[in-house]
Point group: C2
Chain length 337, copies 2
């Protein structure tokens, strides 16, 4: 049951294995008849190219690894989709790994991935404490950080999480809101979330608003966690009039909780989401949110990575995607009672 090799094909075709190798990769420089003969043989013998052998010989593979905190978040799923579709069409295959927002696991995963000698690496952020490690990786292979600005020499495709978040709070302020709560991501662990938290703090102090511990929730970007956080907020003696949610899933769950408490969105509480998940425009009320072009981040990252992998010596990639407000109906101006 052993696999046929190019050597066997070569023997039967009366040529050398080099010629068979060329038949696969550079058919144009073979004699037409030889080529036909070899191809026929490969067909007959059910030949299957052995990528592992090629990888070893060439020192690299046609694999690209994507590292995300979790696979089943809508936004990362979109990003992965963008990457996957683009790279698959270029002949690369995409391996996905998840870190569960854990720095140690991230580091371990990255090491294991490097053993595969991938052609490129796509990271969704990275833990702060792994920064120097990531930089050392970037010296070894094409690498792009996604979803966040990264410091040189790292390439990135993302946006300014700090600024975007700040803009949202400022917007809520301009609508008259003063009691503004924030359901944030795991800011003690994730750089991206940390920046958003910082934006919240700076917003408060910048507008002379008091910091209230009970107005800030650290939650994973899931429906369940959004629910948990909102359940806490809605029972507060002094309820917030507006809540920033770190992602749309949390926002959707928050709306449900608010409704279940007999309150209305945006009547009693305004909700501002983050990401603009596909489903957000279909819910009731349609969600006001900030659009993050998750899929485009994937596609663009893949495109740049592809260029780097093909050896383009372009300067460092620093691509900032646009994140416009999507004003729908879950947020409105506060009318003074």
């Amino acid at each position: 049951m052993r696999k046929t090799t190019i050597h066997e094909i070569a023997a039967k075709a009366g040529v050398s294995s080099a010629t068979v190798s060329r038949a696969i990769h550079s058919p144009h420089l073979l004699n037409e008849k030889t080529l036909q003969r070899i191809r026929q043989l490969m067909e007959d013998q059910d030949y299957s190219y052995n990528a592992a052998a090629a990888n070893l010989s060439k020192g690299t593979s046609s694999g690209v690894a994507v590292v995300v905190p979790r696979v089943n978040s809508p936004v990362f799923a979109d990003t992965i989709t963008g990457i996957q579709e683009y790279l698959q069409s270029c002949g690369y295959y995409v391996t996905v790994a998840s870190t569960h927002y854990d720095a140690a696991e991230e580091r371990h995963i990255l090491k294991r991935i490097m053993e595969q000698r991938p052609a490129g690496l796509l990271l969704t952020g990275y833990a702060a404490e792994n920064e120097s490690f990531v930089i050392s990786l970037a010296a070894k292979l094409p690498l792009i950080v996604m979803w966040e600005k990264a410091i040189p020499p790292l390439n990135y495709v993302g946006f300014n999480n700090y600024q975007s978040t700040l803009d949202i709070f400022t917007h809520l302020f301009s609508l008259g809101h003063r009691r503004i709560a924030a359901i944030l991501g795991p800011y003690t662990k994730v750089v991206r979330a940390k920046r958003r938290y910082q934006a919240y703090l700076d917003f408060l102090s910048g507008h002379g608003l008091p910091f209230r511990q009970e107005y800030v929730c650290e939650a994973e970007p899931t429906l369940a966690e959004g629910k948990r956080a909102m359940e806490m907020l809605v029972t507060l003696p002094e309820r917030p009039t507006a809540v920033f949610c770190n992602n749309d899933l949390q926002a959707i769950a928050a709306i449900r909780v608010i409704n279940d408490a007999g309150l209305s969105v945006p009547g009693d509480i305004s909700i501002f989401g983050f990401d603009d998940a596909a489903v957000s425009q279909y819910i009731t009320p349609p969600l006001t949110t900030l659009h993050v072009p998750s899929r485009e981040i994937g596609t663009e990252s893949a495109r740049f990575l592809h260029e780097l992998m093909r050896g383009a010596q372009s300067g460092p990639v620093a691509h900032i995607v646009d994140t416009p407000f999507i004003l729908r109906n879950s947020c409105r101006a506060l009318r003074e009672a």
Copy 2:
């Protein structure tokens, strides 16, 4: 900038490369001092294991390929998550490929994947015309079909799409509905969708209901397509009183369309979804649907695959997961006017 190899480590440690190889995989059969010395050297020299070399030598890799129609469907994303988490913890890495519901692409992808000599293969269904090809693959490596019953000798973890769908229609019938429309998947292409379509046909004829072409929509399982389909249905002179949606995303979009048309769910039209996506319980009205344990399908498939890959000679895997109704508020009994 060449990578350090075990041979270099061996030379510096004054041992043979075989010993270094053992230090990596079977440290217990090395002398303690030798082991320490080698490990120290690996650390100092920044040694990185070359998986490609190992793959070639061993004839297999520690990679598992997952083939899905599309990555960013919530249900497949869940399945992939389940797979990924399970297998990553077992030391495998997971490569994802998508077929876009295209048989030719599926076949092409599978061939390319086989070049990687993966340790196992996980398929989300497969195109009907590729069946014999898939069966031939199953003879070469551990392979499990997910989301659908498969015929021997194929292993599968899934459920009976035909029966589950039939149950839903029967349920709607028992609620008094007679004008029942169906937004189906791409049944001309996907086996899974084809079976559901057949269930619809059999339901109609089984209950003496007329087949109306305008009541059946072929649509991809996306929000946009669900919207398109429902927009068509809602303008029909004789509107359906209940609509089966092939997946929850379509159902969510359908509800929005109905609301926008000034009608209510379930007041005017009952909606029955499929999948029980995480978000479905959070929307308004909470969606009545059929729960598909997407993540569990992934986990179970991964578990079985893992067993097969470790050489367990268990009989064929035929695991049917439970798909209970989740009765929420988008569906109700028809009261005769």
